[in-house]
């Protein structure tokens, strides 16, 4: 069972829910308060009842202070449980605002520790200083449990929609990410080369669009695979939706050993 985590301002939960449901994977919406406390007693939930948690896109808490900062800070209440959750090999995935939340709460990059107390990555304001909504080309650099079903070096088309998506980190963390093959997706142009704006829509360091932790069971990406689950949602005509395999990979991992 997958939990789709949300709070006020999360607005992409339906799209992710429908993707899992279409693949007949058990999935449920959970409000943040049901994990961290603050909801009525009979609505309280335990994260260990779930095999995985997905954090969708949107504007949690209005992106006030910083995108994902408030959601991340509220999640810190259950840091211990989250650490255990990840240690057990369960999965946590963040898309767009979800990626921002994972960097703010410290579950990514997952290098020095499973969860760190201060953010080591920032998804900052786009270089264009504008909200950018467009389809981009992504190169699948390395596999992780969320992208098993994609070929290495495959180029896919996925839409982005964000005002704060510029990947910034320290030199040290960047080197580690590269060494450990934690960079999962990079923005490229049609030919597969690393290019500037608009192919890199936000100015991310090294065109980084998505990363995972060391083990590959925590993952975040700025683009929205759920928005191209079906071929008819693509900008250009395609036979299969590029986003479908993202969810198929997750389900494949959940069913391992079965």
């Amino acid at each position: 069972m997958i939990a789709i985590l949300r709070m006020e301002g999360t607005n992409n939960e339906d799209d992710i829910y429908n993707a899992f449901a279409a693949l007949k994977c058990p999935v449920e919406m959970v409000h943040l308060k049901q994990f961290t406390g603050g909801a009525k007693k009979e609505l309280q939930k335990n994260i260990f009842d779930y095999e995985g948690i997905m954090i969708p896109g949107g504007f949690s808490a209005g992106d006030y202070i910083r995108a994902g900062a408030i959601f991340g800070a509220r999640l810190k209440k259950i840091s211990k449980e989250l650490k255990e959750f990840v240690k057990e090999g369960r999965i946590i995935g963040g898309i767009c605002n979800g990626f921002q939340v994972l960097t703010e709460v410290g579950l990514l990059p997952g290098i020095d520790d499973i969860i760190v107390s201060k953010p080591q990555i920032s998804l900052a304001v786009n270089d264009s200083a504008k909200f950018e909504c467009r389809h981009v080309f992504l190169k699948h650099e390395n596999k992780c449990f969320f992208t098993e079903k994609y070929e290495k070096s495959e180029i896919i088309q996925v839409p982005i929609a964000h005002a704060e998506g510029k990947f910034i980190t320290s030199k040290r963390i960047l080197e580690e990410l590269k060494e450990n093959n934690q960079i999962i997706f990079r923005y490229v142009n049609r030919a597969g080369n690393y290019a500037g704006y608009p192919f890199n829509p936000n100015g991310s360091m090294e065109n980084i669009a998505g990363i995972s932790n060391l083990e590959g069971n925590v993952f975040g990406m700025m683009p929205h695979p759920e928005r191209v689950f079906y071929p008819y949602l693509h900008q250009e005509k395609k036979k299969v939706g590029d986003g479908k395999r993202f969810f198929e990979s997750i389900i494949k991992y959940l069913r391992r050993g079965v």
Binding site: R66, A73, P119, I121, S122, V125, A129, I168, T169, G203
Partner: protein, 67 residues
Amino acid sequence: MAKVYVKYKKGILDPEAENTKKALEMLGYNIKDVKIWKVYEIKTKDNVEEMTERLLVNPVIHEYKIK
């Protein structure tokens, strides 16, 4: 009451500041530089530095001072 001043670190591109500079130049002004600070005025007895580090800034891109 404490005032927390937050701004981008040196070396981090601040597109809002860049655009503000450009917009002023378009109105005919001669601008050397623009830096944008965000100021949080917080009335509290609790530890403001701790609050700042826990939520108000991301140390990867921000620096701050508290008055």
